[in-house]
Amino acid sequence: MTGLSAIAAANGWFITVTGLVIVFTGLALLAAFIASLDKLLAFWDRGVAWLQRPRRRGSSGPAPGALAHQGPAPLPRADASARTVFLGGETLEVYQYFQWLTRRQGDVFSLSRLLEQAEKRGIPRPHFHLDELLVLGLIEELPGEECGFYRWTPGISVQPEE
């Protein structure tokens, strides 16, 4: 027995369809997983922030994913008057990334290092958004001997745009 009749006799069609179903189900599950990865990671970050909250009092602040509704971690010299800045879409996302990246440098950070790290991580339009955050006053230059280094301006609250 050869050809199509041999395939039919050995359950070949059933095996083929089963194989197709398994492969496409796997691909569909993988696609769904990738599509919801940002939500899963945000959920993970919130979980980590929640777990670390009791231990990080007075330290550098919550995890990046938990920053959407919060301002930057206040620094000791918080003399700026309270102000709210509304950020939307990509700017808010980049703001959160930048907060996370600068936390690794400490309260005072270097803009060139920040841009370098942002580019390495594929953050969208880091130069443009850095300029935007500087113009909005969210990032300020330090005075005196520390000139040329920057920090998140204390006393500014960042809220997502409606």
């Binding site: 400490g106 880091p126 500087l134």
Partner: protein, 149 residues
């Protein structure tokens, strides 16, 4: 070449006589840079002086310090007029930017013909060098800078 009247508006040249601005306009070239584009790199030969027309440029120094140039008329690339003619910082555009570019060869030719212009431009460059001197100092307070001068 650019229009002298256009160049006249640059604060850097505010107190430069009209005749000198006219000469500078004749050697100036308007150059456009895109967001994230590098204008010059630290340590590379400095061949051009720039005056910002529009946009925003980040000057990054090897010690980690950085300065944002956003005011029209601010100068970049003063190293093109000062020995050893190597850039002391990297200039990268934060936004799309337009600058007036002056070749140092052209400027030196102008200076040879007009000592007064040379004196005036040199004085301006000197003030820019002094203004940016703190940015070239190694960082000491937090001990994080690369301590390269």
């Amino acid at each position: 070449m650019v229009e002298a009247s256009e160049l006249r508006q640059s604060p850097f040249l505010a107190d430069i006589p009209d005749a000198d601005v006219q000469r500078l306009a004749e050697v100036a070239v308007l150059v456009h840079f895109s967001e994230s584009e590098v204008i010059f790199q630290v340590g590379t030969p400095a061949k051009n002086l720039y005056l910002l027309k529009s946009g925003s440029v980040l000057l990054s120094f090897p010690n980690g310090r950085a300065l944002v140039i956003r005011q029209p008329g601010q100068a970049l690339g003063w190293s093109s007029l000062v020995s050893p003619f190597h850039h002391t910082a990297t200039a990268v555009c934060l936004t799309d930017s337009v600058l007036y570019q002056f070749s140092n060869a052209e400027l030196f030719s102008l200076f040879r013909m007009d000592a007064g212009l040379a004196t005036r431009i040199t004085a301006k460059i000197e003030s820019v060098i002094q203004e940016r001197k703190p940015y070239r100092m190694p960082r000491t307070a937090h001990g994080e800078g690369e301590s390269r001068s």
